[in-house]
Symmetry: C2
Subunit: 151 residues, 2 copies
């Protein structure tokens, strides 16, 4: 239900949050997130356009987060690359269902609303300060120790 684009966008945002002291190049992000560079380029362009990420040019150019990871939610990221399509209007266009969705579409929309709530209330920073000791994108404790976020 979550697309590959969502997966890659989340990895990239997490990677930038983990390396916030200096810009990261596309090559660095692709390597650190196991993401195909061309696919990543498209994802990054979307996130730059949406104001989640800044792109700098030149010798010390690269990508950085445009906002504090505590203020970027999963919902913000997903909304850029693959928005949750809530069901506000009867998909069959039935006029009498306009103000009250039928039970089928109400149930589907309730499921979507639950996901939306979870995503709206989860910041990227929350995912990096999790107490499990398992850092996203990091295979080893040594990797986790090198990050600029502390668990």
């Amino acid at each position: 239900m979550f697309t590959q684009t969502t997966e890659y966008a989340l990895r990239a945002i997490v990677h930038l949050a983990q390396h916030s002291s200096s810009p990261r190049t596309r090559t660095q992000i692709a390597a650190g997130t196991q993401t195909p560079p061309d696919y990543l380029a498209k994802v990054m362009r979307s996130m730059v356009r949406a104001g989640l990420v800044k792109a700098g040019r030149g010798l010390h150019g690269g990508f950085t987060l445009a906002r504090d990871p505590a203020s970027i939610t999963l919902f913000d990221v997903v909304s850029v690359v693959d928005p949750i399509q809530r069901i506000h209007v009867c998909p069959l266009g039935l006029e009498t269902h306009r103000n009250t969705l039928c039970p089928v579409h109400r149930k589907l929309d309730q499921a979507l609303a639950t996901i939306e709530h979870t995503f709206r209330t989860t910041a990227i920073a929350d995912l990096l300060s999790d107490s499990s000791g398992v850092q996203p994108l990091c295979a080893t404790p040594a990797c986790a120790q090198l990050l600029e976020v502390r668990v």
Copy 2:
């Protein structure tokens, strides 16, 4: 997040539950669910193969539900056409995340688990006996009165 195939499959199953006394042809289902007939044919084949729907040939042939709508859940239908892809293993293949997903993938999987639970605990019959008075696929009270399910 729910595909068009899921939407069409649910409409078709609901339609069959609403007209359980005699088989429904593909043309009748397509008209009653506003579904493209060719697309519907593929969806119906999947549901026949999965044992949710029976297909009869000949003059009085057509599709019927293979089970009581009280025993068919949303999860059963979705699992046939567009299964919920839970995250059981680290998508990056990180060996150290094998037994404990990182917080990103744990959060995504929790969202999927919530949907799975909702879908597993909602039967097609529940959606037809809903007290809202709005019948799926029915634009008018007259239509609802003609159905074989009672709200």
